[in-house]
Each structure stands twice: as C-alpha cells, then as structure tokens.
C-alpha cells in the first residue's frame, strides 16, 4: 500500500490510498464538521456538511470529503466563503427540525447560522441515518429502518425485531445527534402501538 501526499488547508498530509479526504484531514488533526459520519460505519454522504473545495488540474469544485478518495497532489480547502455559506444553509435547514440540538447549536455558532431562518417544524430527526446504519452494519439486526421517501421519510423501528432486540441494546440512542429522547419515543411508540406505527 503506497502513501499519497496531498495538501489540506496549505498543510502537506500523507495518507494511505484507501483513505477519504475526511480521514486524511482527521489524521492530520484538521477538523471538518460532520453529522452523518461515524468511523465504524460505511460512508453515507447524506448531511453534506463535510463539503470541501478541491483544486485539481487547475479546476476548483465542491465535493463531500467523507466520500471523496484521496488523490496524489490534491489541494483541499476545508473552509472558503462558498463552503461556509453552504454549511450555514444546511445547518439552518436542519435547525428548523431540531432547534435545540446541542451539536447543531455548536455548529450554528461557528457558521453564524440563524436557527429561526426557516419556520420551525420540530421532528427531531435530521435523517443522518446513524441509528439505522449502526443497527444494520454493526449490530446486524436491522431493527430500525427508514420508511417513506422525500420529506415524508422517517425512521421507524420494526416492532417484531425491536421487541426482541432493542431493550437490551439501545446502542443507537447515544449516536443520535439531535435528541436521545427521540429514539426512545419512536421505539416506545412502535412497541406499544405496532398497528399505528408507520
């Protein structure tokens, strides 16, 4: 396995060829904000918060660093006017659902995001999929999944599996970037009222 040298925020970083830009940055101690990333899970690319600017072959473009593989000679900028503007917008969009989530508030402060920019529509879930993916990839239980699509998409426990597996596990609860209470609520609802749970 050969090492690849790239530049992140002006610093030369050595990474192995299987790494993503995000992993290379983390290894070099350069912070890039993430919501849906988890080191134990496959990259997912849903929150788009880890977006960075790339320069290669004289062209500049935006990619999400959790998915983009390192390349020799790549020049990465983790902050730019455009990157910051997009991160701010993403945070504002998510804050309309979970205005009091600590993780989001910390990031909002850093990027100057206004949590009241969009009408509040509390639903807690920001669709990072950490619970769904952790249950499937790490625990291999698939007790929770996404149902529906688009704006109607939500997480849902599968009562038949959840009633057997979840009470003794609950490892997905602390992963949730918005509220652990959310997961508890959705789980209790699914088990208590399997017919009405969507």
């Amino acid at each position: 396995m050969s090492d690849i040298v790239l530049q992140i925020d002006g610093i030369e970083v050595t990474a192995n060829e299987k790494m993503t830009v995000l992993e290379a940055a983390q290894k070099a101690g350069i912070s890039i904000p993430t919501l849906c990333h988890h080191e134990k899970l496959e990259p997912y690319g849903a929150c788009r918060l880890c977006i960075v600017e790339l320069e290669s072959r004289g062209r500049s473009r935006l990619v999400v660093s959790c998915l983009y593989p390192v390349e020799k000679g790549l020049v990465v900028k983790t902050r730019s006017e455009k990157v910051d503007r997009i991160r701010k917008m993403i945070l504002e969009l998510l804050l309309s659902h979970a205005p009091d989530a600590f993780d989001l508030q910390d990031l909002a402060r850093e990027y100057g995001a206004d949590k009241y920019r969009f009408a509040k529509e509390p639903s807690f879930c920001v669709h990072c999929g950490l619970c769904v993916r952790y249950c499937a990839e790490v625990k291999k239980k698939e007790a929770i999944g996404f149902v529906n699509r688009g704006t109607k998409r939500e997480i849902s426990f599968i009562p038949e599996i959840a009633s057997k597996e979840c009470w003794s596990c609950k490892e997905c609860f602390p992963l949730c970037p918005t509220e652990a209470l959310q997961a508890a609520y959705v789980l209790a609802k699914a088990i208590a009222f399997p017919a009405t749970a969507e």
Binding site: P69, I86, M89, F118, H127, G129, R149, G150
Partner: protein, 643 residues
C-alpha cells in the same frame, strides 16, 4: 420456430418472410400505442377485424396492430397500405364505411382525412401532412409499420442485421470505436457520450459486466421511451445485445416502470421470441456469444431514473442514489462494470452499425449528432411524439410540426428537459436544439420532454409546480435536496398565494446554490432549474407577485378576482346560471355583479360570458371596483341603458 444458427440463415429467413408477403395486398395498420388505446383504438381494431370477417375478406386484407405513430392528438390513427392513406380520429362507427368504401371501393373518405388548418385542404398521405413531413424519423419511423408482437415484422424491415454484422464481421473494439465515432450521446438526460461509457466498461477489470436499459421514464408529459419500447421493442433489444457484445457482457436488464404495462408486455414477448429464434440466449446466431435479458419492473419512484438509484433498486434495495465518487461503468450494479443507457440511445445503435458513423454524424449539430425524439405537449395544436434532427430550432418544432398554439393565444415559453429542465422564452425560439445549446440557455435536453406554455401560464406557478413534483419524488436522503427544495417549494407557494416578501428571491437563490453545489445526485443538483430559468427570463413576474401582489398571467387564484364590467353586461344571466357557488348577483334586466365573498374563482363566468359581450374580466393587483348602486343596475332595452 427453429433456431437461426448463422448470419446466412438469418438472411434466408428474411428473404422467405419478404417473399411470402404480397406488397400489393391491402393492409390496415392501426396504432395500438397507449395514447391511441386511451382514445379507443382497441375498439376500432376489434371492429375492423369483425367487419373484415363478416365481409369475407380475411384472406384479402391484412390487419396489423402497430405501435405509436406519434400524432397522438389525432388518434386513433389508421393507415391503409399499399396506398398509405391516413385516416384520423377513427370511431368504431366509421369502420364499415372504411372497409366498403376504401378497401373494396378504392375511394377516399374525405371526412376522415387530415385537414391542414392553414389551408383547409384535405391531405391523404402521411408523407404530406406537415406534422410528419417536417420530421426525420430514423428511430421512430418503423413504429407505424410493424406489429411489435411479431418478430417477423421486425426482420422484414432489416431487423437484427446489425447484430449479425457485429457478431461476424466486427471485433468488440471496432463496435466501441464505431459508436464513439458516431458521437452518440445519451438520450436519457445527461448526454454523456455512449461510446466512451462503453469503452470505460470494456476496459474495466472484471469478468462479469452488465448492460442495462433505462426505461424508467418519469418526466411529466414525456412518453417517447414508452412508445419506442411498446412499438419497436426489438430495436432496443438489438441495440442492447450489440452493446453487450461490445463491452463483454452476458447479462442485461431492462428497468421499466410498472406504470407502463403495454411496454412490459411487448418487451417480454419480444425477449421470448428473440430467444426462440436464437437472437438472444446461448450461442446467438451460432456465433458463440451468449447474452440473456431480464425485465425488472420499477415501483414508481422518479428518482430511480437516476442511474445509481436505478442500480440500487435493481439490487433489490430502496432506490436511493449511490454516494460514491466512482463511475458506474466501472463499478455499478453489484459493484461490477455496468453500462446504462436509455431506451432511445439503445435504439440508435443498430442504425449506427448498419449505416455507419459517417451517416449518423451527417445529422445534427457540431456537438449533438443524429436525431432526437421529443414529446411535444401542453398548449400546442399537434400534441404528439416528433423526431427531428438535432439542431432544428424550437420555432420549427413548435410551429412547423406542432402547428402552433391553439385558440389564437400567444406563445410564452417552452419547458424542456423534464421537471429539472428549464423554461425558454419567445426570444429563444430560434435556438437550435442540442445538448449543449439547451444547457447554455439555462435549460436542458433531458430525455426530450417539451411542454409548450401560452400567455395564460404563470411562470412562478410553473416553477412551483415542478418543485412540488420534485419534493414528492426526492428520495429524502441528503439535506440540500430533501430540506432545501422543500423550503424552495414553500417560498414559491407563498409567492403564488400573495404572501411573497422582499428577500424571497434572494433566499430562493441561496437555496438553489446549496442544492446545485451540495446535493447528492442529479435530481437534487438540477432541482433548482425550474426556478432559476424562470427567474432568468421572467423576473418581472416574480417581482409583480411579490411587490404588487399581482399575477401578470392572471392565473394565480389567490391574486386574481373576477369582475363584471357594468358597461358591457347585458344581463343574459348565463353566468348566473352556470356559477357553481351562486356568487353572481343577477336578476332580470339587471346588470350582474360578482359577490366577491362567495366567489371561488373557478373561472366559469369568465368562460361562459358570450364573446359578443365579454363582460367578465379577470383582474389582478388592483382593487375590485365597488358594486354599483342598485338603481344604476337596471338595463333599459331597445336603446339606452342605465337610465
């Protein structure tokens, strides 16, 4: 049917099919595509068969149920061969007369002919009707002459000759090279060069490779892929098999929408027939090349037209786009090299092989070669499918072929490229249609949807409509699309309902940037196009809605009012009788008035007011004039009024 075991046997079969067919024998072809089915072609076909049997003509007249002829506005369509007499909008009642007059008596029935609206002349032959005359139907043309359920019909017009040619006379590399030389670009939306895609897959490591037909056509108002798959499924299969040979694939999939039952049926029959003839399956035409095709039905998700979402769905998982930065021709279906092209792209392949890349590149513009099928719908006289050489102007398509705008209305814009496309204004009517030309103008080719809009269409509402469609169809995985276009829709809805405020345009622009730059897949990245293109060309309409609460097209319900002009009303009472919500204050010989409290703005009064009065007005952005006093409402007949 015995298997065909060589190219020579194929040619021999073709000759025997042709020699068994008498070209002078009368043949009635009847369009049996979905659009004509909807207008009653099944009943007409049944009547024709009945009538022919009753008159004892079964041996003397052939009846062929073909695919879509394209001129859907005038369906059901029949063509009588060998003269090629075209009759339109046929009803079962017309059939007896057609058989006795035209088939037996060799006389034309005037009333069933096409009438040219410009000259009022009756036109007998398809080739002389402006709708057909101005097209170049290379891909779509055979639809009207073959029965899609009968492989012999396809063989009779030279079918599978291209496949035999590649299998016995060309190496896979030569096939890839020919397609590259033709500069065939993907007809499904992206316009990516098919030859390069094939080459990438051919060169990618791995023994197992796939070729896939994208028949998940989901754009509102677009149905060219459906009509091709319904009407000429073997052309798609032949193209796909040629592609499989070129990239080294032995397994193919047709991903077709469940909402296209006739396409599913016809392509399934076509696969079975091709297998029986030895044109698919093991050892095709005795060449040693194996290739099988499976049909997979989609479950009604627009996003599955996106190539990686389609592959995820084929794998049996929820149709969500794949996040990886790697091309699917290298790592696609089950992480194996996979070439995905749309129906029309595959259909072009046999033509290119038969006639050569030089012939193909003689059609089109610098960067867009060949022809393109468009579904021309909306406010247009000749709704239907048209195939034109790339580079034809929008004006020629809309006016020469499409016959212009109905009802004497003014053209306002044409929306191209499906829901993520854009709206182009009158000033761009002379734009040549091509991949790069349309993109540069702020719209796109997409898969060939073309929706014509007239002066009564509100452009803000058009943007809102498409964003609503996309909000419904977003898979919901990434934030810029799920949340971003939801907020765009909310803001656009506010604007069309009179709740727009200063800063809304800027907010929409910011949301648009986030989606374009940060969304996961092409659906999200292109979702802002309907807004951006209407803003670019019709900014004044956005500003009128926001600043003056006025809808210039008089279309947005919340921003308009209906009002009866007292100077013009003659108290005919038609509006009062027709109003579904009793909102017309009428009375004999009294000038009528609209009760604004009760009015639901359905527009009935506006439509029924006799043209000689035109008393009902739509107004927007101005207060409704006060009701006139009771005594001023009296109309005195026979001279003066209001006295």
């Amino acid at each position: 049917m015995e298997r065909i075991n060589s190219a020579n046997e194929l040619e021999a079969l073709r000759k025997s099919i042709l020699s068994s067919r008498d070209t002078n024998k009368p043949c009635i072809t009847i369009c049996s595509g979905s659009a004509c089915h909807a207008s009653g072609s099944k009943e007409v076909a049944a009547r024709i068969e009945e009538e022919i049997a009753e008159q004892g003509l079964s041996d003397k007249v052939d009846v062929r149920k073909t695919g879509c002829h394209g001129f859907c506005e005038k369906g059901p369509i029949i063509v009588i061969h060998p003269e090629k007499i075209c009759y339109f909008q046929i009803k079962p009642e017309d059939v007896t007369e057609i058989i006795s007059e035209t088939i037996i008596g060799k006389k034309i029935i005037e009333r069933l002919l096409y009438t040219d609206p410009a000259t009022n002349e009756k036109i007998i032959y398809e080739s002389e009707i402006p709708f057909y005359k101005n097209q170049e139907r290379l891909v779509f043309g055979s639809n009207g002459s073959i029965d899609p359920k009968n492989l012999d019909d396809y063989l009779a017009i030279g079918g599978y000759a291209a496949l035999a040619k590649v299998l016995f006379q060309m190496t896979p590399d030569q096939v890839v090279e020919e397609v590259k030389q033709s500069n065939l670009r993907g007809r499904g939306g992206g316009g990516f060069p098919a030859g390069s895609k094939w080459e990438g897959s051919r060169n990618a490591p791995g023994d197992i490779k796939y070729v896939i037909v994208n028949a998940d056509e989901g754009d509102p108002g677009a149905y060219m892929d459906r009509s091709l798959l319904e009407g000429n499924p073997h052309s798609v299969l032949e193209g796909l098999t040629i592609g499989a040979y070129a990239v080294g694939s032995h397994e193919g999939y047709i991903y077709v929408r469940q909402e296209y039952p006739l396409a599913v049926e016809n392509v399934t029959i076509a696969i079975k027939q091709a297998e029986e003839y030895g044109l698919l399956g093991k050892n095709i035409l005795g060449s040693g090349f194996d290739f099988t095709v499976k049909v997979h039905m989609g479950a009604g998700a627009f996003v599955c037209g996106e190539s990686t979402a389609l592959m995820t769905a084929l794998e049996g998982r929820a149709g969500e786009p794949r996040p990886k930065y790697i091309r699917s021709n290298v790592k696609g279906l089950w992480n194996r090299p996979s070439v995905l092209n749309n129906v029309e792209t595959w259909s072009n392949v046999p033509l290119i092989i038969n006639k050569g890349a030089d012939w193909f590149t003689s059609f089109g513009t610098e960067s867009s070669k060949g022809t393109k099928i468009f579904s021309v719908v909306g406010k247009i006289n000749n709704t239907g499918l048209v195939e034109v050489p790339m580079g034809m102007t929008l004006r020629d398509i809309i006016y020469n072929i499409g016959g212009g705008i109905p009802g004497g209305k003014k053209f306002k814009a044409v929306q191209t490229g499906g829901p993520s496309g854009g709206c182009l204004p009158e000033g761009l009517l002379d734009l040549q249609v091509g991949f790069d030309e349309l993109t540069k103008a702020g719209s796109m080719m997409g898969s060939g949807g073309m929706i014509v809009l007239d002066e009564d269409t509100c452009m803000v509402d058009v943007a809102r409509y498409f964003l609503e469609f996309l909000t419904d169809e977003s898979c919901g995985k990434c934030v810029p699309c799920r949340e971003g276009i939801r907020q765009m829709l909310q803001t656009l809805t506010n604007i069309t309902q009179g709740r727009g405020k200063e800063g809304d345009i800027e907010l929409l622009e910011e949301l648009a940037e986030t989606a374009q730059e940060a969304a996961l897949c092409a659906l999200g990245k292109s979702a802002p196009n309907p807004f951006l293109s209407t803003l670019k060309y019709f900014r004044d309409e956005y500003e009128a809605h926001i600043k003056e609460k006025r809808c210039p097209a008089l279309s947005c319900k919340e921003l308009i009012a209906f009002y009866i002009d007292p100077e013009k009303c003659r108290a005919c009472s038609i509006c009062a009788r027709k109003c579904p919500s009793n909102a017309i204050i009428g009375g004999k010989n009294l000038i009528h008035m609209v009760d604004q409290e009760k009015c639901t703005k359905c527009g009935t009064c506006f439509e029924v007011c006799p043209p000689r009065f035109r008393a009902v007005k739509k107004i927007s952005g101005e207060p409704v004039p006060d009701p006139i006093p009771e005594e001023a409402r009296i109309i005195v007949r026979g001279g003066k009024k209001n006295e």
